[in-house]
């Protein structure tokens, strides 16, 4: 009997051992936003280098942080937004990038490295991937276009039940903060309360709070206006001619999604190879065609139709960018305040 028990025990221990990850040297574990890379790019990279890519997606930067911090998987390369990278840099989770191993970084416009300095002051840790602004995607047949240049229109009762807001704490707060003329990085109690009050006031007019699906709802004409990222708007415009995009005059958020290599990465070299691959003209072009967000890759931009290069939805003009602010990482107490106030908005009637 004892023998049998022993046998059973060894069997289970094998079973458990099987759960452990086998660490093969030739892999690359990537974590990225949803719908944020041309799947073919991954295939081509695997074909050319023989490196197996394990690819994972997330929805919001906060989701990414949870996934990363849970520590179940050692990611080699992560793409996320400015303020979240800043937070991770401050927590000493990001390793310096060895740009010598990424020679094709020369394809990227250096002015975007300047913008990146707001969260990566010495340009040591990050490689810009795509950038853009936040604005209002609207249906020209349903909305009074003379009013669309201000965030005020999102509080207009004529559009009750036709407005889609962002289901993301900081993006929604940003709209109210900018309408009130505050900085989108404010941590002042009074300014936050005022912004919150404005968002609670707006809630009865809101059709729904969405992130990735906002674009689909607008294409399907289920709503008149949606607060979306410029890149998403660019894509939506391709599907429905009635749609247009506007960045309100009060200013908005400029975001830069960048790649970084976490300290816990096991395959740094593969990660660098992958970044270099992404900067290559043909690959970056293919990727741009799929993602359709503003790319910092000058080689891609120069090869596009002049008409597309002038498309202000996809490539925000300089004067709009100058009117925009980049998100800064907030301290823990302020983050908690934002989260609590956001919950209060969500539970308001």
């Amino acid at each position: 009997m004892k023998k049998k028990l022993l046998l059973l025990l060894t069997f289970f221990s094998f079973l458990l051992a099987g759960c452990g990850r086998t660490d093969s040297p030739n892999t690359l574990t990537v974590l990225n936003y949803g719908k944020y890379i041309e799947p073919k790019v991954l295939e081509l990279f695997e074909e050319e280098t023989g490196i197996k890519v394990e690819y994972e997606e997330y929805i919001t930067p906060e989701n990414m942080y949870t996934k990363y911090k849970a520590g179940a998987i050692d990611y080699d390369l992560i793409c996320t937004s400015d303020y979240m990278i800043e937070k991770l840099i401050l927590e000493d989770e990001v390793s310096e990038m060895n740009f010598k191993n990424i020679p094709l970084v020369k394809n990227l416009d250096s002015s975007y490295f300047e913008f990146s300095k707001s969260f990566d002051p010495e340009n040591k840790y990050t490689l810009p991937y795509f950038f853009g602004t936040v604005g209002i995607l609207y249906n020209r047949e349903l909305v009074d276009e003379s009013k669309i240049n201000s965030w005020d229109i999102l509080w207009d009762e004529r559009y009750s039940g036709q407005i889609i807001m962002a289901d993301s704490v900081r993006d929604s707060f940003m709209v109210a903060q900018k309408r009130l003329g505050y900085s989108l990085n404010t941590t002042e109690e009074k300014e936050l309360r005022n912004a919150q009050e404005l968002l609670i006031q707006q809630k009865p007019l809101v059709y729904s709070y969405l992130v990735d699906e906002a674009q689909d709802e607008m294409i399907a004409e289920n709503a008149a206006m949606a607060v979306v990222y410029s890149g998403e708007a660019g894509l939506a415009l391709e599907y429905n001619e009635k749609l247009a995009f506007s960045v309100p005059k009060e200013g908005s958020n400029m975001w830069i999604d960048s790649w970084f290599i976490p300290k816990r990465a096991k395959h740094t070299e593969n990660a660098e190879k992958f970044l270099n691959f992404l900067c290559r003209k043909d690959i970056a072009m293919m990727n741009f065609d799929y993602v359709y967000y503003a790319t910092p890759n000058t080689q891609v931009k120069e090869a596009l139709d002049p008409e597309l290069q002038e498309n202000s939805t996809i490539f925000p003009p300089k004067e709009i960018l100058e009117n925009c602010e980049v998100f800064k990482s907030l301290d823990d107490a302020s983050t908690m305040k934002y989260n609590l106030y956001w919950k209060e908005i969500k539970s308001a009637d």
Partner: protein, 273 residues
């Protein structure tokens, strides 16, 4: 010896329980009563008294209750009708009830979103007949509607099960002794199906109380249930302690509701525990 062998058969199940039920519950308890640094605190659990958390809990209880009552009101007569049919068609209709469960629950919720949206299939159909559209999507009504749709089989099956076990002789005997339909219903059918009703209520109320996916997808982010607050604490705020504290409170409500229902007597063994 033989006994030991039999017990060994339960081995995989015990491992499963320990690893996937007991351990997670212990971890939730640990997180619930500690602060981020690991010090003991009541703050996470007591934060249920924050007005925003309390409001979410009350809304969850309210929607859960409404959903349970609707499910019961729909299921009971249905089970009776079903029970009075021929045995062959009974099997077929039960099969039809189970059929939607072959599809993934998330897909079905997403399908409802497509059906109910402003320019969705239902509204365009209504439009072609010149009828006014319905705009219940992104309201608590849509959340309750979809919960009823999802959980209805869990109510029908135990009630139908209990009902089919009533011997027709008993009803005939009652009739012989002069009982009318109403008396038969209240004195015989209802008491004998009570165990099924109790199981059904628990199996509908508990998932309805704790759900967050339905309210997220059909509430348009405007309906904040306690499940959403917990999900947000874990996924958005990276505050596992708060999430666990609130989960602990929710567990108390779940256990209390089960204990309350089970105290209503259950002799037939169709109860949940």
């Amino acid at each position: 010896m033989r006994n030991l062998k039999r017990q060994l058969l339960a081995g995989p199940y015990i491992l499963w329980m320990a690893g996937f039920i007991l351990l997670p519950v212990l971890m939730i308890l640990y997180y619930a009563f500690t602060a981020t640094g690991g010090n003991f605190t009541f703050l996470n659990v007591s934060s249920i008294t924050f007005s925003v958390h309390l409001k979410a809990l009350v809304l969850s209880l309210k929607l859960g209750l409404i959903c349970t009552v609707i499910c019961l009101a729909l299921s009971y007569p249905l089970a009776m009708i079903l029970n009075s049919m021929k045995a062959k068609s009974q099997g077929f209709i039960v099969f039809i009830f189970i059929l939607p469960m072959w599809m993934n629950f998330m897909l079905r919720i997403l399908a409802w979103r497509m059906l109910l949206s402003n320019n969705g299939i239902i509204n365009s159909l209504l439009g072609t007949f010149g009828l006014p559209g319905i705009d219940i999507l992104n309201t608590p009504t849509a959340v309750v509607f979809c919960m009823v749709y999802d959980f209805l089989p869990f109510m029908i099956l135990p009630i139908y099960n209990a009902m089919s076990r009533i011997q027709p002789d008993i009803i005939e005997a009652a009739r012989d002794l002069g009982a009318g339909s109403l008396i038969i219903f209240f004195k015989i059918i209802v008491p004998l199906t009570m165990s099924g009703v109790v199981s059904g209520i628990i199996m509908v109320f508990v998932p309805a109380l704790t759900s967050f996916a339905v309210s997220d997808l059909l509430g348009g982010g405007k309906v904040l249930l306690i499940g959403n607050v917990i999900e947000q604490a874990f996924m958005q705020e990276y505050n596992w302690n708060l999430g666990s504290g609130l989960s602990f409170v929710l567990m108390i409500f779940v256990i209390a509701s089960m204990a309350l229902m089970n105290s209503r007597g259950d002799e037939n063994g169709t109860g949940v525990w």
